[in-house]
C-alpha cells in the first residue's frame, strides 16, 4: 500500500502541475481577432464612408431608385420595383438603408469627428461635418423625426429618443456652420483618404455653402425668408461643374455605379412614360439619349412604360446615370444654379435676371451631361425670354426636375413646391391611397428594437417642413 500511496501522491502532484499550467493556457489575449484591427486611421474610415454614402445614403437604390419611381423618371415593371410603383414600400423595404445610414455612414462619421479632435485636424472635422449634415438631411427628409442627440452610444443607450425634424434641421445648420469655419480656416491641411475632392478643404467649403443653401430652401413652406437666406448662403458655393461634390465610379467589377449594378443584376425598372414624353415629345431635349437607352421597339426608339405597363422593350436608364462609371452627385453646381434661379424668382428679382439664371442652370446641366445642346439652346432661350410669372416659376422647377434626374433631391423639391410640376399619381394601384407617397415608413429594425420609434407613420404622412397647402 505504501508504494501505491507514493504513486498516488505523484499523480496528484502531476495533475496539480498540469492544472497549474492552465494559467498560461487560458490566455485571454488570444481572444483578440487577429484578422481585424481594433483601431484604424481617419483616412481609411473616410474612404469607406464616402463610398457607402455614394452607394447607399445618397445614390442608393433604396433612395434614388424609389424616389425616382415616385417622381416618374422610372416605372417599376417587375417584382419589388413594381410594388414600389404601386405605392407599396414597407418597413422591411427601407430597413437596409436606415441601418447603413446609421452604422456605416453616420457612426463612422462620428468616429472621424472624435478622432479629428484628438488629432487636432480641422479638415477631417469639417469634411465629416459636411457629410454628416448631408446624411442627416437625406435621412430626415424621407423619415422626418430621427434619433440624433441621444444616438450613437452603443450599449449605454439602446433606445435613443427621436429628435423632431426641426431639431435635426438646427443640427444640420450647426454642423454646416462649424464646417464652414473649419474648412475656411487658412491653416486647414489637405487630408488623405478623400476620394471625392482629393483632400482639398477649399472644395469642401464650396460644398458646405451649397448644402446650406439647399437645406435652408427646404424650409421654404415654413419660413418666407428661406429664399433670401438660401440665396445668401450660396455665396461661396460650388463654382463650376468641375467642382461638383460627387463620387466617381469605375468600369471594373466591384467598382461600379449602384444603378448600373441594379440594372445589370435586378432590372425590374424601365423609363417612365411621363419623363420620356416630357423630354422627347414635348421638349425634344438633347439630354434624352444620355438619360435613356434606345428601346427595343423599332417603331418608337424612345418610350417609357405608362401606368400598369410592364414592357421589357421600353427604354432603360441611360449612361448619364446608369453606366458603370456614372458618378453619384451629392450636391452640384447645377443644383446651386437652380436654387439661385428659384430664389431670385421668389424674392421678386427682375425677370431678366431670373431668366438668365434659369438659362445658366439649364446650360450647366447640358454641359454636365455632355449633351449636344447649342442649337436647341437657341430655341429654348427664345422661349424663356418671353416667359414670366408662374409659368416661368413652373419652368424653373420643371427644368430642375429634369436636371436632377435620378437624384432624391427632386423628391424634396416636389414636396416643397406642392407639386408645381403637376405630376399625377398612379391611378391603377390597389394601395391605400392613389396619391404619390411623401414619407418613408419607419425602418423595421428600429420599430422592433427601439420603443421610441414613432407610430402611425405611413407613406402619406407629411414631414415637418412639408406643410399641406391651405385649401
Amino acid at each position: 500500500m505504501k508504494k501505491i500511496n507514493i504513486k498516488l501522491i505523484g499523480l496528484v502532484f502531476l495533475m496539480a502541475l498540469a492544472f497549474g499550467s492552465c494559467k498560461s493556457w487560458i490566455d485571454t489575449n488570444i481572444n483578440t481577432n487577429p484578422d481585424l484591427p481594433a483601431d484604424v486611421p481617419m483616412s481609411s474610415i473616410l474612404t469607406g464612408v464616402q463610398a457607402n454614402m455614394a452607394y447607399n445614403t445618397i445614390g442608393g437604390n433604396d433612395i434614388s431608385r424609389v424616389t425616382s419611381i415616385w417622381l416618374q423618371y422610372y416605372q417599376g415593371i417587375a417584382r419589388q420595383s413594381q410594388s414600389t410603383a404601386n405605392y407599396y414600400w414597407l418597413e422591411s423595404d427601407d430597413n437596409n438603408l436606415w441601418v447603413t445610414d446609421y452604422t456605416n455612414t453616420m457612426m463612422n462619421l462620428q468616429m472621424i469627428i472624435s478622432k479629428s479632435a484628438t488629432a487636432n485636424n480641422i479638415t477631417y472635422k469639417g469634411v465629416a461635418e459636411v457629410l454628416l449634415a448631408n446624411t442627416l438631411g437625406v435621412v430626415t427628409d424621407v423619415w422626418g423625426d430621427m434619433p440624433y442627440s441621444s444616438a450613437f452610444q452603443g450599449i449605454a443607450n439602446l433606445n435613443p429618443s427621436f429628435d423632431n425634424q426641426q431639431k435635426i434641421y438646427t443640427t444640420i445648420m450647426n454642423l454646416l456652420d462649424d464646417a464652414i469655419i473649419q474648412l475656411g480656416d487658412p491653416t486647414a491641411p489637405a487630408i488623405d483618404g478623400d476620394v471625392m475632392y482629393g483632400g482639398d478643404p477649399a472644395l469642401w467649403l464650396q460644398a458646405a455653402h451649397t448644402l446650406k443653401a439647399r437645406y435652408i430652401l427646404h424650409l421654404c413652406k415654413l419660413q418666407p425668408t428661406a429664399f433670401a437666406d438660401a440665396l445668401a448662403a450660396l455665396d461661396g458655393g460650388i463654382s463650376s461643374n468641375d467642382n461638383d461634390c460627387q463620387f466617381a465610379f469605375f468600369d471594373a467589377a466591384g467598382q461600379q455605379n449602384p444603378l448600373f449594378q441594379f440594372m445589370q443584376q435586378r432590372g425590374d425598372i424601365s423609363m417612365a412614360q411621363v419623363f420620356i414624353d416630357t423630354l422627347n415629345l414635348v421638349r425634344h431635349d438633347p439630354r434624352l439619349p444620355l438619360f435613356a437607352t434606345v428601346s427595343l421597339d423599332t417603331t418608337r426608339p424612345y418610350f417609357g412604360n405608362g401606368w400598369g405597363e410592364t414592357s421589357n422593350d421600353a427604354s432603360l436608364p441611360g449612361n448619364a446615370v446608369a453606366s458603370a462609371a456614372a458618378p453619384v452627385p451629392f450636391v452640384t453646381y447645377v443644383e446651386a444654379l437652380f436654387i439661385k434661379a428659384e430664389c431670385l424668382y421668389q424674392t421678386n428679382a427682375p425677370v431678366e435676371q431670373v431668366r438668365i439664371a434659369l438659362i445658366d442652370a439649364v446650360t450647366a446641366s447640358m454641359q454636365k451631361f455632355g449633351a449636344d445642346y447649342v442649337t436647341w439652346m437657341t430655341f429654348y432661350s427664345s422661349y424663356i425670354n418671353v416667359s414670366s410669372g408662374p409659368p416661368l416659376y413652373k419652368e424653373i422647377m420643371m427644368q430642375k426636375w429634369i436636371a436632377l434626374y435620378n437624384q432624391a433631391e427632386a423628391f424634396n423639391d416636389w414636396r416643397r413646391t406642392n407639386n408645381v410640376i403637376g405630376l399625377s399619381a398612379n391611378p391603377t394601384t390597389a394601395a391605400q391611397k392613389n396619391e404619390i407617397p411623401r414619407h418613408y415608413p419607419e425602418a423595421q429594425t428600429e420599430v422592433n428594437y427601439n420603443p421610441n420609434t414613432p407610430k402611425g407613420i405611413d407613406l402619406w404622412t407629411r414631414v415637418w417642413w412639408d406643410v399641406a397647402p391651405a385649401k
Binding site: 418597413e91 434619433p147 450613437f152 483618404g193 445589370q264
Partner: protein, 1051 residues
C-alpha cells in the same frame, strides 16, 4: 505539453514493474446455463489489470495469471457478469446465466466512461451497428431518425453530401449552436459546429458528421440531459452523441476476421411542387417571347410557327418555334406544347463498399478498415465521395499498462450545385420557367447575340437555365481529415486506475466556386472563388478512476479528471470577379480580386469529478462537478463551476419485490444539473472591418477600392461584460421491465431553464451598431419522452419486436433582451424565422392580411383582402410531437424491419409556391379565369360576396407570396412516413461448414411512403441547412426516396 510526456513516461515505468512476476496458466470452458453450449467471445480478465483474453469458438480460454491475483471476471453481452475466485486448480470452467433483464448492460457515458445502465439517473438511448448498417445512409447520424425520442434529425437538402441538422431536447440557445457535441471513442470532434450552414443562396455544403464511415461505428449513444452531459461541460450544452467504434478482439484459434459490406442505392426525387401546364409564357393572356411570367395564352389555343414574320430575332431561344394563335394566318408547324420540367431529374446512384479486418492476441489487438462511398445526386453533376481509412489498436505493456491508439483518415468532397434564392439556383430556374419553354433543348448558344450565349427562357437574362447551372456553375470541394488518439491506461490497483487520453481532430478543406461568364448570378461577369480552411481541435483528458466496494453492500466509483482543449480554425479565400476568358477558372482571370481571412481560436481547461455511490445494487447516488476556464470571456468572468446530482432507485430490489415474475425490474430516477456555456470567440471587443458597401439588391463595392483601402467600424458591438450562460435542468423518469423483458417501458420528463443566455442581439441602428452580444435571454424547455418496447413473439423460428418512441417538447422563449421581443434567426426580411418572447423558439414571422377580432379576413370593397402593414407571428416551426414505430419480424433467417416516423404539427414556409403563384407556373394559378369570392367580411362586418378573379393582376400584386403576405404560404409540415423498410436474409446457417462466418443480404427502402399536407417538396428540408433557422423552403432541392440492395459478408 511537456508535462504530459512526463506523466506518460512515469505511467509506463510503473506498469512495467509487473512483467517479471510469477505466473500460473488457467484454462477452462465457458458455457451457457440455458443450453449448456460453449460461448465464444467471452471476455476473461483479471480485475484491476490488463491481463485478459477471450474464449475461442469452442468456448475455451487459456490465460496466464500471476500468482498474486486471485480472481477472474467473465463477461459477455446478454449474460450476467461473473467473478470467480481462482483456487488451487488450474482448470476453471464457468457457467454464465442469461441476463434477460439486461441488468449488466453497459453503456458508454460522458468522457468515455462505461457505466451500467441500471446505475444511471438519466435516460440514454443507443443505436447499434446493425441498425446503422441497414439504414444505409451516407451520414450515419441519419440512422437516428425515428429511433431515439426527442432527437430531431433533419436531412436538410436533397443533394448528395448535404448537411444534417440534429437537435436534442429542443433548442438550448437562441443564436449559438444548438447541435450536439460528437464524441468518437472519447475524443470530442468537430462535428455539427463546422460547415453545413449556409445563406439563402449558394450551395449546400456538408457538415462534418458525414466524414465518419458508418460501418466503423459499433454504437451511437445519445446523451440528452444536463446530468448526462455535465462532465463534458460547455461543449455538450446541447447534448452529446457518443460514437463508439469497432475494436479488434483476440479470439483463440483465429488470427483475423474480415468483414465486407457493400450496397448500391438508387435515389429518386420524392415530392415535387404541382405545376400548371395549360398556360403559356407571357402576360395579359398573350404569349411573349422572353416574358418573365406564365400569364400567357391557353396552350390549346396556340400553335407553333417558324414563319420568319414571327420567328426571327429570338429563334435561338424559342427553338421549337414561336407561339401564334390557332386563328393566325401565318404558317404553322403544329400545336403549341408544354414541357415537363421534372424530366430534369435523374436517378441518383450511391455505391458503398467497406472492408474491415480485425483480430489480435491476448497482448495486442487491431482493427483496420477502408471504405469508399460514391454518390451521384438526382441533379446532373451533383456528386459526393468519401474514402475512409481507420486503424485502431491496443497493446498491453505488462499487466498494469495498456496503450491504445486510433488513426482515422478521411477524404470527402464533391461537386455541389447552386440552390435557394439564387438566380443560378437549380430549382429557381427550373420552376420559374414557363411550361412552353423547353430548357432541355440546349442551354448554350453558339452565337453571341444580344450579349449573351446562355439560352434561358428570358433570353439569357434573369434566371439560369438549370442545365446551364448544372454544367457551368460548379462548386467542388475536397476535405482531408485526420482524427487520431492515443490512450494510456494504468491499473494501479484492483480498484484504482489512471487514464490519459490525447486526441486530435485535424481537417483541411479546399474549395473552388466557379461561375461562368453569362451566368445570371455573377451578372454576366463570372467569378472564381478559391478557398482553403483548416481546423485543428486538440483534446486532452487525464483521469483517475476509483471503483471500490467498501463496508457491506456499498460501492463507490469516483472519477477525477483534468481536461484541456484547443480549437483553432483558419480560413482563407480569394474571389476573382469579372472573368475575362470564358470557362477558365483561376484567380488570374478576374478583373477584381479580393481576399479574406477568418480565424477562430478558443482554449479551455477544466477539472471535473464524478462520484457514484451505490448501496445493495438498489440505490445509486451520483454527484458531478466541473469547473471550466475559457479564453472567450474576460479575466475574472471566465472561470465557472457547475454541479449535478442524480439518484436512481431500483425499487424491485426491495425484499418484497425482488425476483417477482411480473415486473422483475423497475427503476425510478431523478437528476438535477446546471450546465454552463461560454461566449463565441472575439465577442468582447468592437473591431473595424473592410466596409461592406451593399444595398441588399446588388453585389456592391469591393475594397480596396480604386487603389484605396478602407475600414469601417464594425456594426457588431463588442461586450466585455459577458459572463457564462447557465441552464438549470432536471429530469425524472422510470424504467420498467415486465415478463422476462417482453415488455419494457421508459418514461422521462425533463425541464430545462436557460438563463443569462448569450445571444447575438440585433439592436436599433440608431445606437450606431446593428448588433451586439448580451447575456440576456431566457428559455424554458420541457418535455415528455416515452419508449415502449414489446416482444410479442419470441421463439426459435419466430421473433417479433416493436419499439415505439414518442416525445413532445415545449420550447418557449421567456425573454430575449431589454425591449427586444424578437430576434431574426434566418430567412428573408419580411418572411422570417424569429425567436419571439412568449412564443415557441422558432416562430414564422411575416405579413398577414388585415383581420377582424375573430380572425376573419377583412375584404376591401374591390373584393380583395388587404395586406397588414406590420408583421406578426404566423406559426411555429417545431412539431407538437414526434414519434417513431419500429418493428422487426423475423422468421428463421428472414427478417423484415419497418420504421414509421411521425412528425405531428409544425409549420413550414412554402416560399416556393408563393413565388410560383406570382410567376403563374404553379398549379394554384390554373383557376385564373374563374370567379372567386374571398371568405371574409367587409369593413362593416358583412360577409363578403364580391366575386373577383385570382388573375395576373392580383397574383403579380399582393396576391402571391412573392410581393404579398407570406401567411397563405405557411403550411403544415407534419408527416407520417415509412422512414425505413429493410428485408434481410441471413445465410450464415447454410454456410456453417465453410470459412464464411456470416453472410446476409438486405434490401432497404428509405422514405418510400410519405403522407403530408405540405404542398411542396418533401417537408424534411431547410433552405439554410443545419442552422438554427429551420422551416424555410425557398426553391430547396427536393428530397429523395431511395432503394438499396446490400450484402454483408464476414469470414
Amino acid at each position: 505539453m511537456r508535462k504530459f510526456t512526463l506523466i506518460l513516461a512515469l505511467l509506463l515505468m510503473a506498469g512495467l514493474q509487473g512483467v517479471f512476476a510469477q505466473t500460473r496458466v488457467i484454462t477452462g470452458t465457458v458455457t451457457s446455463s440455458e443450453d449448456k453450449q460453449p460461448i465464444p467471445g467471452v471476455t476473461v480478465v483479471v480485475p484491476g489489470t490488463t491481463i485478459g483474453t477471450n474464449t475461442g469458438m469452442d468456448g475455451k480460454y487459456v490465460l496466464a495469471v500471476p500468482s498474486k491475483y486471485t480472481s477472474l471476471t467473465f463477461s459477455y453481452v446478454g449474460m450476467k457478469t461473473k467473478a470467480v475466485t481462482i483456487g488451487t486448480a488450474t482448470t476453471l470452467d464457468v457457467v454464465l446465466d442469461n441476463d434477460v433483464m439486461n441488468m449488466d448492460e453497459v453503456v458508454v457515458t460522458a468522457i468515455g466512461i462505461p457505466r451500467e445502465t441500471k446505475a444511471l439517473s438519466y435516460s440514454v438511448q443507443e443505436v447499434g451497428a446493425d441498425d446503422i448498417m441497414k439504414s444505409a445512409r451516407t451520414d450515419a447520424v441519419n440512422s437516428l431518425q425515428g429511433k431515439v425520442s426527442d432527437v430531431q434529425v433533419i436531412n436538410s437538402a436533397g443533394v448528395a453530401g448535404g448537411a444534417t441538422y440534429v437537435q436534442i431536447r429542443g433548442a438550448s440557445s437562441i443564436t449559438q449552436n444548438n447541435q450536439p457535441l460528437y464524441v468518437i471513442d472519447g475524443i470530442p470532434i468537430s462535428g455539427s459546429e463546422s460547415g453545413g450552414t449556409y445563406g439563402v443562396d449558394g450551395v449546400a455544403t456538408s457538415n462534418r458528421n458525414i466524414d465518419i464511415n458508418p460501418d466503423d461505428i459499433e454504437s451511437m449513444n445519445v446523451l440528452k440531459g444536463g446530468a448526462a452531459t455535465a462532465l463534458y461541460g460547455l461543449r455538450a450544452a446541447s447534448g452529446a452523441i457518443i460514437i463508439t467504434t469497432k475494436k479488434g478482439k483476440s479470439t483463440p484459434g483465429k488470427k483475423m476476421s474480415v468483414n465486407f459490406n457493400t450496397y448500391i442505392q438508387f435515389d429518386k426525387v420524392s415530392m415535387l411542387p404541382a405545376l400548371q401546364n395549360e398556360y403559356s409564357q407571357g402576360t395579359g393572356g398573350q404569349w411573349v417571347s422572353g416574358g418573365r411570367t406564365s400569364w400567357g395564352a391557353k396552350i390549346d389555343t396556340m400553335s407553333l410557327s417558324k414563319d420568319p414574320s414571327v420567328w426571327n430575332k429570338w429563334k435561338n431561344f424559342d427553338i421549337g418555334g414561336s407561339l401564334v394563335p390557332n386563328s393566325s394566318s401565318v404558317s404553322k408547324i403544329g400545336p403549341a406544347q408544354s414541357y415537363n420540367p421534372y424530366n430534369f431529374f435523374q436517378t441518383g446512384v450511391t455505391t458503398n463498399n467497406s472492408l474491415s479486418l480485425m483480430g489480435g492476441t491476448d497482448v495486442s489487438t487491431f482493427y483496420f478498415s477502408f471504405s469508399d462511398n460514391q454518390s451521384k445526386g438526382i441533379v446532373p453533376n451533383n456528386t459526393f465521395r468519401r474514402n475512409t481509412f481507420k486503424l485502431a489498436g491496443d497493446t498491453k505493456l505488462g499487466e498494469k499498462v495498456k496503450l491504445s491508439g486510433t488513426a482515422n483518415y478521411m477524404i470527402t468532397g464533391g461537386n455541389r450545385l447552386q440552390q435557394g434564392s439564387n438566380t443560378s439556383g437549380v430549382m429557381l430556374g427550373l420552376l420559374r420557367t414557363p411550361t412552353t419553354f423547353d430548357n432541355a433543348a440546349g442551354y448554350m448558344l453558339p452565337d453571341v447575340e444580344n450579349g449573351t450565349i446562355q439560352r434561358s427562357y428570358r433570353h439569357g437574362r434573369g434566371y439560369d437555365n438549370p442545365y446551364w447551372t448544372a454544367n457551368e456553375n460548379q462548386y467542388s470541394d475536397h476535405l482531408d481529415r485526420l482524427i487520431g488518439s492515443v490512450q494510456v491506461d494504468y491499473y494501479a490497483t484492483k480498484w484504482l486506475s489512471v487514464t490519459y487520453r490525447l486526441g486530435v481532430d485535424w481537417w483541411g478543406r479546399r474549395w473552388k466556386d466557379q461561375m461562368n461568364i453569362y451566368s445570371s448570378t455573377a451578372f454576366g461577369d463570372g467569378w472564381d472563388v478559391d478557398g482553403q480552411e483548416t481546423e485543428k481541435d486538440m483534446n486532452s483528458d487525464l483521469m483517475i478512476n476509483i471503483d471500490k466496494d467498501f463496508a457491506k453492500d456499498f460501492n463507490i466509483k469516483v472519477l477525477l479528471g483534468q481536461n484541456m482543449t484547443r480549437q483553432y480554425y483558419k480560413g482563407l479565400s480569394s474571389t476573382a470577379n469579372g472573368m475575362v476568358i470564358p470557362e477558365y477558372y483561376d484567380l488570374n482571370n478576374g478583373t477584381t480580386i479580393s481576399s479574406a481571412t477568418t480565424t477562430n481560436e478558443i482554449r479551455r481547461a477544466a477539472i471535473y469529478g464524478d462520484a457514484t455511490l451505490s448501496w445493495k445494487n438498489m440505490l445509486y447516488l451520483s454527484l458531478t462537478g466541473r469547473n471550466d476556464w475559457t479564453t472567450t470571456l474576460v479575466q475574472g468572468k471566465n472561470s465557472f463551476f457547475y454541479p449535478s446530482v442524480g439518484l436512481g432507485w431500483i425499487f424491485t430490489q426491495l425484499p418484497g419485490l425482488k425476483d417477482n415474475k411480473i415486473m422483475p425490474y423497475g427503476k425510478l430516477r431523478v437528476s438535477y444539473a446546471i450546465v454552463a456555456k461560454d461566449a463565441p470567440a472575439y465577442s468582447t471587443i468592437t473591431y473595424y472591418n473592410t466596409p461592406a458597401v451593399l444595398d441588399g439588391w446588388t453585389t456592391g463595392l469591393v475594397f480596396p477600392w480604386n487603389g484605396s483601402n478602407a475600414f469601417s467600424l464594425s456594426n457588431t458591438l463588442g461586450n466585455n461584460q459577458l459572463k457564462p450562460e447557465k441552464t438549470k435542468t432536471w429530469e425524472v423518469g422510470t424504467d420498467l421491465k415486465f415478463w422476462q423483458n417482453r415488455v419494457g417501458f421508459s418514461y422521462t420528463f425533463f425541464h430545462n431553464k436557460g438563463q443569462d443566455l448569450i445571444l447575438s442581439v440585433p439592436i436599433a441602428a440608431s445606437t450606431g451598431y446593428s448588433s451586439t452580444t448580451l447575456n440576456a435571454a431566457s428559455m424554458t424547455t420541457y418535455g415528455h419522452e416515452v419508449t415502449l418496447d414489446i416482444v410479442p413473439i419470441k421463439s426459435k423460428n419466430w421473433n417479433w419486436d416493436i419499439i415505439i418512441n414518442w416525445s413532445c417538447i415545449k420550447n418557449n422563449v421567456d425573454a430575449l433582451a431589454p425591449n427586444i421581443n424578437q430576434i431574426f434567426l434566418g430567412g428573408f426580411e419580411g418572411s422570417e424565422i424569429d425567436a419571439m418572447v412568449g412564443q415557441p423558439y422558432r416562430t414564422i414571422y411575416g405579413y398577414d392580411w388585415v383581420r377582424d377580432a375573430k380572425g376573419n379576413m377583412v375584404i376591401g370593397p374591390d373584393g380583395y383582402p388587404v395586406e397588414r402593414a406590420d408583421m406578426s407571428a404566423l406559426g411555429n416551426v417545431d412539431p407538437k410531437w414526434t414519434g417513431g414505430l419500429g418493428t422487426n419480424l423475423r422468421w428463421k433467417d428472414l427478417s423484415l424491419y419497418l420504421l414509421f416516423d411521425v412528425k405531428y404539427g409544425g409549420k413550414m414556409w412554402d416560399g416556393t409556391r408563393g413565388v410560383l403563384d406570382y410567376f403563374g407556373t404553379s398549379a394554384g394559378t390554373l383557376n385564373r379565369d374563374e370567379w372567386y369570392v374571398f371568405p371574409g367580411v367587409t369593413s362593416s362586418g358583412q360577409v363578403n360576396t364580391v366575386p373577383v378573379k385570382l388573375d395576373e393582376n392580383w397574383r403579380t400584386g399582393i396576391g402571391s407570396g412573392f410581393v404579398g403576405p407570406m401567411v397563405d404560404y405557411v403550411e403544415n409540415s407534419g408527416w407520417v412516413r415509412l422512414r425505413t423498410v429493410t428485408l434481410s436474409y441471413n445465410f450464415t446457417h447454410m454456410l456453417k461448414k465453410t470459412f464464411i462466418k456470416g453472410l446476409s443480404l438486405y434490401f432497404t427502402g428509405t422514405n418510400l411512403w410519405i403522407s403530408t399536407k405540405y404542398k411542396g417538396i418533401d417537408p424534411e428540408t431547410n433552405l439554410l441547412g443545419a442552422s438554427n433557422a429551420q422551416g424555410i423552403d425557398y426553391f430547396n432541392m427536393p428530397g429523395t426516396k431511395s432503394y438499396t440492395v446490400g450484402l454483408n459478408l464476414s469470414f
